[in-house]
């Protein structure tokens, strides 16, 4: 094989390999969407975070505005402290509430922010006051069963 | 011998394992400018001697001086430097099969020197012309016959004009014409390039025709030495058997076995 032919083929191979990697990164992965922009950190406490994981999205009105950066346990209040990295372009009022929601029925959990009405905006390091924990399936089921049992008892008493 | 020998082995012993020595107390001298033959049975240790000279194997005992250096005490880099002054022809040529004949011969020049390409081309053609294969420069080794491959390997070995040439069984498996060619080349190149050569072989006729001095090796020991003329007339039983190619003598025909008559009698008694 002539030296130049080999070089051409190897060059094409390496170029194709990098093109494949680029394809994976851009079209398959989420490189294009969340670039490294400025973020500010806020915290929130939850009684139960359910299945929330680090790097879970933080959405407001369904649009991704940030990512969960850290999850810790507060040994004094026995609650979870979740730290958010919110995109610096988006400012939220100080009375914004945070809820842990599930995408789809069995999907992964994310944090939903609902803007409040306060004039003052959240600053770096502040804490969100209003939070709602994740819905735990077992609690739902036991509540459902409890309600069913109560209904049955009522109907037996009533009738 | 007035001049310092190019190669000198003094009471050299060697074994891959301590319990089984391959060479016992071997002493030999190679005068500068001469062609020396090392001959003997297959497996007698003659190739081991060559490998010790080339610095591959380190002798357990004794001194090994090659080109003025004590080989057994050299480190890796120093042995490499010493090998630049040596050339070796391997039994079947050992050409690099993924390169052309030209690239094979040019290999050492390209690796060790900074010579410009056109100078290398001239040198390669010179070496190939010396072995008579300048026309085959563009062929691949797989297209060559055994004799031609060995000649190309010879051209490759002399590429950087080494002072010492080592030949490992150069006559094996060649037709009579190629045999004659190789033998003539070994002698002519040695004389015209001012080299010293060691030829390891068991081909008595070809070897005796070109060497100045012969060492006979048997079972790891030097059993005889001398000029070809001396050895032809020697009374030594081993030399006699080897030179004339007799089937039986000091080297027995039969591999050790119990007495055949007793074996047959035992079989007859059982049956």
């Amino acid at each position: 094989m002539k030296r130049s032919t080999i070089d051409i083929w190897v060059g094409a191979f390496v170029a194709a390999g990098f093109a494949g990697l680029l394809f994976l990164a851009l079209k398959v992965g989420n490189l294009a969407s969340f670039s490294t922009s400025q973020t500010y950190q806020v915290q929130a406490k939850f009684a139960n975070i359910g299945g929330l994981k680090v790097r879970a999205p933080i959405k407001s009105a369904g649009v991704v505005v940030g990512r969960v950066s850290d999850i810790k346990f507060d040994n004094e209040s026995y609650e979870a402290i979740v730290t958010f990295n919110v995109d610096a372009h988006y400012k939220f009022p100080r009375d914004t509430s945070a809820k842990i929601l599930t995408s789809g029925l069995l999907g992964e959990q994310y944090v939903g922010l609902e803007a409040g009405g306060d004039a003052a905006m959240l600053k770096e390091g502040e804490r969100l006051r209003l939070t709602q924990s994740a819905v735990v399936l077992e609690n739902l089921i036991s509540q459902f069963l409890f309600n069913k049992a109560a209904e049955g008892k009522d109907s037996k008493d009533g009738k | 011998m007035a001049a310092t020998p190019i190669v000198e082995l003094d009471r050299v012993s060697f074994g891959y394992e301590a319990a089984r020595p391959v060479l016992h107390d071997v002493s030999l001298r190679v005068a500068p400018g001469s062609v020396v033959g090392i001959m003997g049975q297959s497996g007698c240790g003659k190739t081991t001697i060559l490998r010790i000279v080339a610095g591959w194997l380190r002798a357990g005992a004794g001194r090994t001086r090659v080109l003025g250096a004590e080989v057994s005490r050299l480190g890796g880099a120093e042995i490499f430097a010493l090998r630049r002054k040596m050339g070796m022809l391997f039994q079947f040529g050992a050409l690099f099969t993924d390169m052309t004949v030209f690239d094979n011969v040019a290999f050492q020049m390209r690796e060790h020197t900074d010579l410009p390409a056109d100078l290398i081309e001239d040198l390669v053609h010179l070496k190939l012309e010396a072995v008579g294969l300048r026309g085959a420069a563009r062929l691949m080794p797989s297209a060559l016959s055994g004799g031609m491959a060995r000649r190309v390997a010879l051209a490759r070995a002399i590429a950087l004009d080494p002072q010492l040439m080592l030949y490992d069984e150069p006559f094996t498996g060649l037709d009579p014409i190629s045999l004659g060619v190789i033998a003539r080349l070994i002698r002519t190149l040695n004389d015209s390039l001012g080299q010293t050569s060691i030829v390891v072989s068991h081909d008595v006729e070809e070897c005796f025709g070109i060497v100045d001095y012969v060492y006979f090796v048997s079972d790891g020991r030097i059993v005889a030495e001398g000029t070809p003329a001396d050895l032809r007339g020697s009374g030594d039983a081993f030399v006699h058997q080897f030179v004339r190619g007799e089937p039986d003598g000091p080297i027995p025909f039969h591999y050790p076995a119990p007495d055949y008559g007793a074996d047959l009698a035992a079989v007859a008694a059982d049956g």
Binding site: L21, L31 | L95, H112
Partner: protein, 272 residues
Amino acid sequence: MAERAPAGGLAGLLERLGHAASSKIWRLGYAARFFVYILLHSGTALRRFGLTIREIYFSGVLSLIIILVSGLFVGMVLGLQGYDTLQRYGSSEALGILVALSLVRELGPVVAGLLFASRAGSAITAEIGLMKATEQIAAMEMMAVDPIARVVAPRFWAGVISMPLLAALFSAMGIFGGYLVGVRLIGVDEGAFWSQMQSSVDVREDIMNGVIKSIVFGIAVTWIAVFEGYDAAPTAEGVSGATTRTVVTSSLAILALDFVLTALMFTGGNAR
């Protein structure tokens, strides 16, 4: 030390097992020293990069066909099987996620690694083994050229460079195959296919980890291939035995390393 006759029965069995184990460990140590030697003498391979480029051609470019075709088929099968299972739970739109994550995290590096081991790895072993058997290595040493620097190191680096590229191309072809089957053939929504995939496949967690895996596999496979070739006995049986050992050992190494790397990379996140 005179050789004792091997003991019979259980003692003999244990003796043989112990000997086999200790000789394997000795061989591993020898291979490790060989690996370090290659790294230390890689100067030639990097300075005369033409040598390495030539080897990238023989290991990488010539493996392209098998990698691309296999990738395509694996992706298509993933598409079919994935759809069949997902549509039972009404989640057929997650097909993109299934195909992409399976390929990028696991199948890309592992299957490409296995294919590379059997195609390029065995070729490297056979080539070096044959060079050793025909005394070409010895001839090189005689000409004061370090055969490990000239012959072994370029092949090693070529393998390490080629592997991640081949794994990436395998994954890309596989996703394309999954797309062909899922969207074009079966009719999953194209937008959902890509958008769900993009929102779930993380560049750092998934793609980067997949690339790291393929680099580790490349080092392991090429190291084994080069060592087995260099260490082969200079006979026909020696070389053929070395070639089979390369393929078997590389495959086992890939699967074992895959387990270790997956445990480190993909399950550690939850523990936080």
